[in-house]
């Protein structure tokens, strides 16, 4: 099918065709950027950060990557069970292996960028 599609596009002469490979994040950092950063980064428009600021009142950092108290087990619970308006994430979104990598990344087992 992919070959057929590529041939179709070439036949159509679309000079700016950009066929992408499947986007499959592998590293913990990539998973974080793809699935967590949109809510948990610093600054305006991050509902996860806003929620954690209200929850902890500044006793722990509201930005997820500034936390030092989250271990992989906690990350797994939040990702697979969700909390409040954050829904759980399915295995087609974050696989078990990616979840381990994400837990390692957030819990600082991996070097931060």
């Amino acid at each position: 099918m992919k070959c057929a599609m590529t041939m179709l596009l070439l036949a159509a002469g679309c000079m700016s065709a950009h066929a992408a490979e499947p986007m499959a994040p592998a590293s913990g950092e990539a998973v974080y950027k793809r699935w967590c950063s949109h809510c948990h980064s610093a600054g305006r428009g991050n509902p996860g950060t806003e929620s954690l600021q209200v929850k902890y009142g500044g006793k722990v950092p509201a930005v997820l990557l500034d936390r030092t108290d989250l271990d992989s087990a906690a990350v797994k619970v939040f990702v697979r069970q969700g909390v409040l308006s954050m829904p759980p994430f399915r295995k087609t979104e974050i696989t078990d292996a990616e979840l381990v990598a994400l837990g390692d990344y957030i819990s600082k087992k991996n070097a931060k960028p």
Binding site: H18, H38, G45, E50, T92
Partner: protein, 511 residues
């Protein structure tokens, strides 16, 4: 392991074994903890026996795998419920309408197949969300915008098929209206391409949406007649500039000329952005000079043209006595980082999730229930309709919000589609069955009440789709009966998303 209704354990095991052969054992989910990930996180029936839950899930990675999965389901009459990314939160999430269905999870089909700049279109698979498409376009350095809805993690295809809308310019923000060509797997496993895509070696599948002969694409919008595996969308070439003007009026009745003028400008295509209307609070406009209604009108285009359009708008609104006309900042695109940090990103074609802050935990609401469902009646785009809705809202809200205890939010007058507006109400949903039950009662009352006034919803959470569909009853439900006739013809075993938007297969019809 749960089993779909009316399917034997032995048959279901045969189907699961075949699916594992097709998609790989890792992508067939049957354990309770894996299947629980498909629950609707914002379900108004959370934890109650009426909650709509799946029996299993299967996640193909290609159209050929979708065909094989559907054929097997059809042979053994296993009900499927197709989702793209499953992020239709507030309208059902990833949970099926018919409990016991197997979720057909298309998230792994996540390829951006083409983005064409000269003709400004994209062709994508169902698992592609707005973040993905935006990232793809940015990395490729293409000068086209996408039109994101509020939740950027939603599927480009799924949002369009559910009737969703976005925030940039007309006609791109009507997501189904902006589509061009689709590929669909039918219940018997056959592939159909619509529009020009039916022509082998077509050179214009994403250029012309109509093709030749009766147009069938609409059957797949909020439908259950096939599984959409590819879809094209027209994109907006990056506009050079954007400026928003705001108009405020002081008398409540001035919403009539305000909306009339707004309509004129929009229908003339002078204003092409997503307009909004605010105000209407009880008592507003009672004080001299106080604002009763406020409208904002974004305009996208070349800077010189935008400036001229703004002047044209000023002239038109000057006909309303005492109207205050304010020019907002003129933004030149692409925005720099500092500017981007202070604007609403979706208005500039950039997806985000900031909307979840509205009903999530925040300083104003430190203990929210968590989720919400949306009530979305369509009103004609007139000031008279707005006033009629507000009269009803003020009269009924005390009773239907239990004196404010239900904390229903709204109405927000959304004008994503021309000639109409959505009077959006948001119902908080949490984990307390008693409170959720009261929300459900109120929601259903609003459906009936609005139907009595000629207002129907454009979309509804899965558990309320029958309620809403029932209101569309002209000529003894002739539209529903037509849809059922089609359903019986193209999906005689009724395996594709039974009950979606009120369309049930023959063996599950209650009337």
């Amino acid at each position: 392991m749960a089993t779909p209704p009316n399917v034997s354990n032995a048959d279901f095991n045969k189907v699961l074994a075949a699916w594992r052969q097709t998609v790989g054992a890792d992508w067939v989910f049957t354990s309770p903890e894996d299947v629980a990930l498909y629950r609707d996180a914002y379900s108004p029936y959370w934890g109650e026996k009426e909650e709509r839950v799946a029996s299993a899930a299967v996640a193909p990675a290609s159209v050929e795998e979708v065909q094989a999965v559907v054929r097997m389901a059809n042979q053994y009459k296993v009900p499927l419920y197709a989702i793209s990314t499953g992020r239709n939160l507030a309208y059902g999430g990833s949970a099926p309408v018919y409990s016991g269905s197997v979720v057909l999870d298309l998230k792994r089909m996540n390829r951006v197949l083409e983005v064409n700049q000269p003709n400004a279109y994209a062709l994508v698979e169902p698992g592609v969300n707005y973040f993905d498409l935006h990232e793809h376009i940015t990395k490729a350095g293409l000068d086209v915008w996408i039109d994101p809805p509020d939740p950027g993690w939603g599927s480009v295809i799924g949002n369009a098929l559910d009737g969703g809308g976005g925030w940039t310019a007309s006609p791109f923000r009507d997501h189904f209206g902006a589509h061009c060509g689709m590929e669909v797997v039918l219940a018997n496993g056959e592939i159909v391409r619509t529009g020009m895509g039916a022509l082998p070696n077509s050179k214009s599948w994403q250029h012309n949406r109509w093709g030749f002969g009766p147009w069938v694409d609409g059957l797949f919008r909020q439908g259950n007649y096939g599984v959409v595996t590819k879809m094209g969308f027209h994109l907006m070439p990056r506009p050079e500039a954007m400026q928003t003007v705001t108009v405020q009026v002081t008398r409540e009745a001035d919403v009539i000329p305000l909306v009339d003028t707004l309509n004129l400008l929009e229908n003339q295509h002078v204003v092409n952005g997503s307009t909004s209307l605010g105000g209407g609070q009880p008592g507003a406009g009672g004080n001299a000079g106080a604002t009763a209604w406020s409208a904002s009108l974004p305009i996208y285009g070349p800077e010189k043209v935008v400036r001229a359009q703004v002047e044209y708008c000023r002239d038109k609104f000057s006909k309303i006595a005492d109207a205050r006309f304010t020019e907002g900042e003129l933004f030149r695109t692409p925005l720099d980082a500092a500017t981007l940090a202070r604007v609403r990103k979706v208005s500039f074609g950039i997806p985000d999730l900031s909307t979840f802050g509205l009903l999530g935990r925040n300083a104003a609401n430190p203990s929210p229930p968590g989720g919400h469902v949306d009530f979305s009646p369509i009103l004609p785009r007139t000031g008279e309709a707005v006033l009629e809705f507000m009269r009803l809202y003020r009269e009924k809200l005390p009773e239907l919000s239990e004196g404010g205890a239900l904390r229903i939010l709204g109405p927000v007058f959304m004008t994503n589609w021309d000639r109409t507006m959505v009077a959006l109400l948001m119902f908080p949903i949490g984990r307390d069955p008693q409170m959720n039950g009261r929300m459900r009662n109120s929601f259903r009352h609003w459906v009936e009440l609005c139907a009595e006034h000629g207002w129907g919803e454009y979309r509804a959470p899965a558990v309320f789709q029958d309620d809403v569909a029932k209101a569309y009853s002209y000529n003894n439900h002739s539209l529903r009966r037509l849809r059922e006739t089609i359903k019986d013809a193209v999906d005689p075993n009724g395996i594709l998303s039974p009950g979606r938007y009120g369309v049930w297969p023959k063996h599950l019809r209650k009337v």
